[in-house]
């Protein structure tokens, strides 16, 4: 298993270097237009949220997988884990707030020792819980085998990455043996009702391109995945969300080391879709880091782009008014969310 960029002491594990790469002319000499200027041309001189509806919480960077495109640089060697104290601050912020959905991510969020307690407490507040489950965690250790039942008891919505219906394509992105383990986990989720029509248990698949190319039409991909997974493995799922890989962290390392960086950035810039800007996820989401710091989105979190207003930069000081009126920090990586049909944790976003 490969190590995280951080464990390798790779220069791109430094967020300052990542931002430097994104903001200097490409190797070909090409200068990409600033994203900030681009959205200004589209009528967004001050880019702010519409309404905060989703709290996306990263409960730790520890993961049982080391995916080549991971924007978190997660893996077994990452020890950053959210404490129960920080989770309690999250619950306090959620209580009585207008936030409807809590989106739990990682790493593998299930590896946090307080994960089940946290899910149960959020559910008690009447909030919808989405867990970004990498699937393989379910079969990684007997202590996780009952996760499908636990998810069902708490009416958790499961969102799971599966980049392809072929083992080769999946394993080349997510690691050897991931496809077989993912299929087994999907069958276990189906067995308790997840992804089955009229069960009320939602199992969404997340598609990320396995290389330096953009996702195709979400609806076409969904149709193809449904046909192939049902025919070959008897698997059902609710919806497929197509997500663009943003040029940060391990995916940035892949782009630079494979010589694809310039062409990929050009592709993102050329595919800029003004219609997608208004619906990007930072407009209705606040992202919480494993240590409680707040960010505009999971990608800004991984680039350590902390919020500007010092009065509400940590979940312990969560202030809905300040956060709703904040100016969202944008940078060149944001082209990933506005390319083509647009991209968010919930897939395509253009109207």
């Amino acid at each position: 298993m490969i190590k995280s960029l951080k464990a390798q002491n790779n220069t791109l594990s430094d967020t300052f270097i990542q931002l430097q790469v994104l903001n200097t002319p490409a190797g070909s000499g090409k200068v990409f237009p600033s994203f900030k200027d681009k959205i200004k041309e589209s009528g967004f001189s001050k880019f702010s949220p519409t309404k905060i509806e989703i709290l996306q919480i990263n409960v730790g960077k520890m993961c049982n997988q080391v995916c080549k495109h991971c924007h978190v640089d997660a893996g077994p060697d990452r020890k950053e884990i959210m404490t129960r104290d920080t989770m309690e601050h999250c619950l306090a912020a959620l209580e009585g707030s207008a936030i409807t959905t809590v989106d739990l991510t990682g790493g593998a969020p299930e590896m946090n020792p307080d994960f089940r307690w946290f899910v149960t407490e959020i559910t008690k507040l009447g909030k919808k819980v989405i867990v970004r489950c990498n699937l393989t965690i379910i079969v990684a250790n007997p202590k996780y085998y009952d996760l499908p039942d636990f998810f069902k008891e708490n009416h958790v919505e499961v969102a799971s990455s599966l980049p392809h219906f072929s083992a080769k394509r999946t394993d080349s992105q997510r690691g050897d043996g991931v496809f077989v383990a993912s299929i087994k986990a999907l069958q276990m989720l189906n067995a308790v009702g997840y992804g089955i029509v009229n069960s009320g248990l939602i199992l969404n698949l997340i598609y990320n391109p396995g290389g330096a190319f953009l996702p195709g039409s979400q609806s076409s991909l969904e149709k193809e995945f449904k046909t192939r997974l049902s025919r070959d493995y008897g698997i059902n799922f609710t919806n497929l969300f197509a997500i663009t890989n943003l040029p940060i962290s391990r995916f940035l390392d892949y782009l630079v080391s494979s010589g694809n960086y310039d062409a990929y950035m050009e592709k993102l810039v050329n595919a800029y879709n003004p219609a997608a800007v208004g619906n990007v996820m930072c407009r209705n989401t606040v992202s919480v880091g494993w240590d409680g710091y707040l960010f505009d989105c999971d990608f800004n979190q991984m680039l350590d782009l902390k919020l500007k207003d010092p009065t509400s930069i940590h979940i312990a000081d969560y202030n809905n008014e300040v956060l709703t009126n904040r100016e969202i920090i944008v940078n060149q990586h944001c082209y990933g969310c506005t390319a083509g049909a647009g991209s968010s944790c919930g897939g395509e976003i253009s109207p």
Partner: protein
């Protein structure tokens, strides 16, 4: 002297017959004939939409045709497009085997013509 300079200038501008960057300039053909270019690109766009065939199936057909006509721009474009539309390596290679089968078959089927001629002129 004039013609030599012109030749050197041409050589400097065109180190190879094909330049990968030219693929991104395809739309520029409208510079010399806008009306026909517009008609072509409108038609092109329509052809590749989902229809009785899916956009993914059309992309795989385009990939196979690209290999038949051996157009490097088209191979580049439809390899990426097939991946984006969710095709995998096996499907893409099978599409190229269709090209090879048709191209090979096109040669071999003419063997019947050869056989006919042989039979016509031999005892």
């Amino acid at each position: 002297m004039y013609s030599t300079n012109r030749y050197l200038k041409f050589k400097k501008m065109n180190k190879t017959y094909y330049n990968a960057e030219d693929l991104g300039k395809f739309g520029n053909i409208g510079e010399f004939q806008p009306e026909l270019a517009k008609k072509f690109f409108d038609y092109y766009g329509e052809v590749f939409k989902d229809g009785a065939l899916t956009a993914r199936e059309k992309s795989l057909i385009a990939l196979a045709v690209a290999h038949a006509i051996q157009c490097p721009y088209c191979i580049d474009a439809y390899t990426t497009d097939s991946l984006e539309k969710g095709a995998d390596e096996q499907q893409m290679m099978e599409a190229i085997h269709v090209t090879a089968a048709i191209r090979g078959g096109a040669s071999l089927v003419h063997g019947v013509q050869m056989m006919n001629k042989v039979k016509e002129i031999t005892m």
